[in-house]
Symmetry: D2
Subunit: 341 residues, 4 copies
């Protein structure tokens, strides 16, 4: 069945598989000390254009938990939108590390600067604030869980507020490629590295089998990070699996090509929905599109193409998600177009 269910329905971009096979016979040292990890880090630094630290982890929830729990101090909590991935959809992985997620109201999936600032002012104005966990980091996702994007102005404001309050700014970039390739963004990879204290370049949802590249931008990698990763069960023996994949993704701009392809497909997808008078739930310029389907229409369409349930809209309508990726084809889109007719 043609599927728009997610951006991780298929395996890896073929070039990644080719390189894994090509390097398979080389004897390499373990735990991320191999030459492909080194090379991948070098290429990522070059793409960013700043002298940053890069480390590889396996998946998104793992990365969020490792980064947040190693960067927060004992008495601190992480601030996030109520719809942030760490708030809602990671099984309580942050709390498992002993830290609270302080949930803020969101606007189109985003933490707005004024909301953050009000929250921080209220917190510090409270005489009893030392009885509450201190806001010790801001977590944002870009694109957000609703496919939306922060503007450069918003990110600059968030960054300024965070630094004024001595909180690192952490960007979950599980789908970062799609943000960078969007036709409606003014934020570059270098801007992000400059404004955030730590972020990650998602691999799993942008063409890899698995893997996320964490970027520490301010000479702020937690000390003895390897031990911290190890004790969280997040260090894999064959580190080459991550090194080769990211080395491939950052060779000849593959990461950006994959992302652009998915955006091109998403823009065509939007045109198809518009042509069929289907309402958008939210205005997204990335690879995830959220539309409102009448429940009968949903049921009929479900028999022909795969997509994801998102949330109930009202008694007769449902919000669903369609995602594109490196593997989405024009024929997939044509098939959807026909199915909607």
């Amino acid at each position: 069945m043609v599927s728009f269910e997610s951006d991780y329905i298929n395996g890896a971009h073929p070039e990644i598989l080719r390189r894994l096979a090509e390097t398979n016979g080389e004897a390499l040292t373990g735990y991320g000390t191999d030459r492909y990890c080194e090379s991948a880090k070098e290429k990522i630094r070059a793409a960013i254009g700043l002298d940053v630290d890069v480390e590889f982890l396996t998946g998104g929830t793992q990365t969020n938990a490792v980064v947040i729990s190693t960067m927060l101090r004992d008495h601190e909590a992480v601030v996030a939108a109520k719809t942030g991935h760490i708030s809602a959809h990671e099984g309580g992985a942050i709390e498992y590390t002993g830290h609270k997620v302080l949930e803020l109201p969101q606007e189109n999936g985003k933490v707005m600067p004024t909301v953050l600032e009000d929250y921080l002012e209220t917190y510090y104005a409270d005489e009893n604030h030392e009885h509450m966990p201190a806001p010790g980091m801001l977590y944002i996702s870009h694109p957000t869980e609703y496919g939306t994007l922060y503007t450069k102005a918003e990110l600059e404001q968030l960054s300024e507020i965070c630094h004024r309050y001595n909180m690192p700014l952490f960007m979950d970039g599980a789908r970062l490629g799609y943000a960078l390739a969007s036709r409606n963004t003014d934020l570059t990879l270098t801007d992000i590295a400059r404004l955030c204290d730590v972020f990650y370049i998602g691999g799993t949802k942008v063409g890899a089998l698995c893997g996320e590249a964490v970027v520490f931008t301010k000479d702020n990698k937690p000390p003895h990070f390897l031990t911290s990763i190890k004790r969280r069960g997040a260090l894999i023996a064959k580190g080459r699996l991550l090194g080769v994949q990211f080395d491939t993704l950052f060779t000849d701009g593959l990461y950006f090509d994959i992302s652009r392809h998915a955006i091109d497909m998403a823009e065509k997808l939007k045109e198809i929905f518009m042509a069929h008078d289907i309402d958008f739930f939210i205005d997204s310029y990335t690879n995830q599109q959220f539309v409102v389907l009448e429940n009968g229409q949903l049921k009929a369409l479900k028999e022909k193409v795969a997509f994801s349930f998102w949330e109930k809209y009202d008694d007769t309508h449902t919000v669903v998600r369609f995602a594109t990726s490196w593997s989405t084809t024009d024929s997939d889109l044509q098939y959807l177009d026909s199915a909607l007719s």
Copy 2:
């Protein structure tokens, strides 16, 4: 350089890469719900010959931490040999989950039944034992960290003691294939499943890129295990990566073929060491061989082949480890033979 450094120096067995490529374009559901995970579980059940539950995780330390922390009750600790992997080499991953590792003296890397029984008797005889964490599980590795093996009689005794004291018996099988393929074992996979409450079939060190198959043998999989895995950051989106690998390993006995090959190579390795009058540190019948090198000899050999430092033997000698795997060849062995001459 010819390398005997570990059994994870190379990538995956070529058949695994072939199958990953072959299935790459199929749209599959995420998080381990795909058909390859199902098929792999079915084949593992068939290989064991018992109706067990199987779940896939990414690496060994992660698996130890997930299994131990979901099976222990709040007031319990896990008992292990002082040289057990969880005691010494996992960065405190078990303690990270909040539970103590109660370390017992070892014999050739093994927890001997009498040692365990004495420990438990002493614990329960102490009037104040409720002020100490209760022994709630026994962890053993098979092969051990020294390449040694439990006999069937020993495993039966450990199992009987554990069940008498209401403690699940957990076997770390990161290198289980090499135990099963050893020429000096009387324990079958079915025996292990019968005698242990939970164990895992290691993939990472037996030909996979990553992955361990956890087997719950007594209808004792922790409830809502998926959520527990998720909150430990151990659930990967493209579960197919694990499913396809284990499906391949358990098709036409590949897992056992890989293991046998490594054992054959290890036996030839032993012959070479014997021919060169090199002393063994411990008597191992699996793919890891520990020998004692005079420090000058070590230095000279190090220039020609790669192997691992293990521990200081005395002021002039050192214990080193040589490991074989699916990728070890006869020409590697010949090269070593020459290098030792």
Copy 3:
């Protein structure tokens, strides 16, 4: 200065000090195994009229953390009002134990049954709910943080919903005495024990130096609870300190006398506020009264009597709290009356 700052501004009720002195010279066993702990448990069981398990802990946050973390299963979280003490004012103590607090909207500080039911229905209707921590317990405080009370009908509904969804119902009774002594409640101690699975009878804020009595009502005390308490650093050597205090509080109804006295004082306090045309922020029938003061009035009053800042009301008004306790006297009230004139 006359103080209404909290119900823990003074030491213990004099009868408690008298009994501590009287029993001081007796040689008693430690860690809660002494005869006063036993006697106190027996008297609490008699006051409740049901065969329950009772255990003593030192303070409220500690009790919440111990009870919640020993009763939740690994994959579960605790549900609470956003204004619940565990959500907002315990420094992230629940998250420190690895579990999330799922925050619900509140009404006068209370979790309303329909809100809870909607939440649970939505959770279980979500196909991906296993990616979120499961609601595994309901936490309510009675009186709430705003001094309000659940009605018997509300508690019955919450209890029914909880049991339908297999969630224990936990009542934080840090100020339980004031709920029971309120002139506007239809809930008895026996009702509470019947409808809740676990609750505690607060000592610290009802006349003791420290101490909370946890009551497990359904033969559901976590196994090996002493070890669980110990490993949370919550077991005190001289358990007599808690035993003697609760034995005294439950001798001749002292706990209820103390509570009634504070309620009588609170009712008079309300009359004084009404006489001075001061607005109530919320309608409370317990020992905490929340009123809205104009900021100039607040500043003037602050020079004469002590009370607590609660929250900003608007730019010119502030919500403040006045609390009564065993030590509040008629002359304190007269002084306040004068100070307001």
Copy 4:
């Protein structure tokens, strides 16, 4: 029955109860912000003679867990003797905070400097040491669990090694008074404060109802320590309970008087044992005396006086502990003398 079971069989020294009663009616702020806490801190600073930070906690296990877990960095573990209280008798409280206890062999309950140094050298010599938790603090108890004492020379050596390896030195002083009052010590309170980075002055076992005074000696109190205490459930509302007790203990040298009395009684106890030809298990100069009783003798004595089982000596003998405290009297000793005849 005359009891030597422990140093916490009785309540508080009468002067403490007197002061609690005397200050009971004063309205004081909560959570350790009251004037008695301040005064107690000042007096402790004066007794030490150095400008240190002092904080109060409720009990020993709690104090160990709070101090260790707030001072260790993420990747670190605490080093202790295998017989150290945190290793063996605290229900896994340190591991509950996520950190391993690295257990060293002991000599008379002590960590010997050469043992520590060898351990650290071996750890750092291991190429894979980053796969193990790093030794991040040394824990010692003084007196030890066997009543023995470190000499000044030993403590100086341990301190030097710790600082060379960048590890804070933490002394568990649950019974510190008895160490200071011993007739066989060359360590003063000031020496201890100078050589240790953090230690505590035990109250519970030296005449208080509860309470331990933690002393940070190197301007090294963890930032936002109040929040850290709160989230571990270790902050009590009526902080006065600790403040008044320590203020009393450090007024007119009461803490030292109590300790000296117990030592005087312990020395007389030793004479009685010697007079009856009873063997000592270990040579202790503090308030805990360990003797070896023949099992028949033990049974007979047990009917007349109370003492503690310690450990099995051989098939016919048992090690038992006798402890003295502020409440031990000459007539208690005479009674024991008769009972032994």
